[in-house]
């Protein structure tokens, strides 16, 4: 089948291109190269579009969707070296791949092993879309409604970050492995108590989960008295067996990882 590349320079050109049959978006290309291109008739390269911006005003961040993981880490770490996205994306995949994987491509593919989804879920990120679904949508809605992805281009990722204390864990056998699961914890303390928290877990059967029940349990707890080892994952968190172990083992590991990340955050 004929494969044609398109190189739009203006965002207005994109919606019409995405309506062509068999046309896909190309960010860094790493997800596309893992699939067959037999049914793909066209690729829209986003490299010439104005999607590389980075803005930070007060606590509001806006990231262009064509930023690579490496560019994202560089931009955010200048302002917040311990930011959760810095922790997550600086260890994701590998150095050469971090220079190719884009935020938009990663969100569009949303693989189970993504190091991006958990942190963005905890940050309650919003995605700016153009095309068939135009507007601003929550990441949670993007993950739930697959129709949003058809014929649409993510132009930016937005979130507020008032200065969360952040912890991130990716469960792997070796550094390079895709994570079996990831745990993201964001905490705010006020007068020695946990005033707010956001917890996210990816890699389970539900793919990406906000642990809101646990967040409610944490609210108001005195940091000094809090015992993370008593924290239990809710029943809804379930895993499928994979090369790291059985569903029961992975669940136990995820619970332990959550306890450890929280303990580390509270100690610091």
């Amino acid at each position: 089948m004929e494969l044609t590349w398109y190189y739009p320079c203006r965002l207005e050109e994109v919606p019409a291109l995405l309506e062509k049959p068999g046309v896909l978006l190309h960010g860094g290309g790493t997800a596309l190269l893992t699939r067959s291109l037999a049914s793909v008739r066209g690729l829209v390269d986003v490299g010439r579009l104005p999607l590389f911006g980075f803005q930070s005003r007060r606590d509001r961040f806006e990231l262009g969707s064509a930023l690579t993981y490496d560019q994202t880490v560089r931009e955010i770490s200048r302002l917040r070296p311990d930011h959760v996205l810095v922790q997550a994306l600086s260890r994701a995949a590998s150095n050469p791949l971090r220079h190719r994987i884009t935020l938009g491509g990663s969100l569009a593919a949303a693989p189970l092993w993504s190091d991006l989804i958990g942190p963005l879920l905890a940050l309650e990120a919003e995605l700016v879309l153009i095309g068939r679904s135009e507007g601003v949508f929550s990441l949670e809605r993007w993950l739930e409604e697959r129709d949003l992805r058809k014929g649409s281009l993510i132009t930016a990722v937005r979130f507020d970050d008032p200065g969360w204390s952040a912890g991130y864990h990716r469960e792997t056998l070796t550094t390079f492995d895709y994570p079996a699961f990831t745990v993201t914890c964001l905490l705010r303390l006020k007068e020695g108590r946990i005033s707010a928290s956001r917890l996210a877990l990816t890699g389970g059967k539900a793919r990406a989960l906000r642990l809101r029940g646990l967040e409610n349990e944490l609210a108001g707890s005195a940091a000094a008295d809090f015992a993370p080892e008593k924290l239990r994952l809710p029943e809804e968190v379930r895993f499928a067996a994979n090369k790291l172990g059985s569903p029961e083992y992975l669940r136990a590991q995820a619970e332990l990882a959550l306890q450890r990340v929280l303990a580390r955050l509270l100690r610091s």
Binding site: D45, G47, R91, A93, L97, R100
Partner: protein, 158 residues
């Protein structure tokens, strides 16, 4: 299949190439004679095919050639040669960091990108930079020593 005619800047020279729309940068470079770019896993895991794209390391097996038209590409041959080796290449030889040599082009290029930004990296920073380069001979201790040696020599000579 659409055929594309386009220019690339490879090792400082403008190169005009004609290629199919779905070819990877790795295959295009090797077909054009840049066989110093090694074909390893083809899945972006081993780092043997690393080239510098506008100064940044990428797995050329994970890059469509059509997506990097006009970009500056550096292979290990663009750094130095047998007769005029780059200090990083010489450090790899002097530190005994070359065994079978298959991973060496990727290791050297990632080191070049690292030292261009961070002239005296810590061991942890070296390991993080090399986290996408596998050595089948498992000679990592000498490779890390070679990166440190190259950093010291390049810092000494400005």
């Amino acid at each position: 299949m659409q055929h594309i005619n386009a220019e690339f800047q490879i090792n400082g020279k403008t190169v005009l190439m004609s290629f199919p729309a779905d070819i990877t940068l790795l295959d295009l470079l090797r077909q054009a004679g840049f066989t110093e770019v090694k074909a390893g896993c083809h899945t972006g895991q081993c780092g043997a095919c690393v080239v510098l794209l506008d100064g940044r390391p990428v797995n050329s097996c994970q890059v469509f050639a059509a997506s990097v038209i006009g970009k500056e590409i550096t292979t290990v041959a663009g750094l130095g040669s047998v007769h005029d080796p780059h200090p990083i290449q010489q450090a790899f030889v002097d530190a005994g960091a070359v065994q079978c040599g298959f991973c060496t082009p990727g290791m050297v290029l990632v080191t070049a990108a690292l030292l261009a930004e961070n002239s005296l990296p810590t061991e942890e920073e070296i390991k993080q930079a090399l986290d996408g380069n596998l050595c089948r001979c498992t000679g990592y201790v000498k490779i890390i020593a070679a990166v440190k040696l190259a950093a010291e020599r390049m810092a000494d000579h400005g």
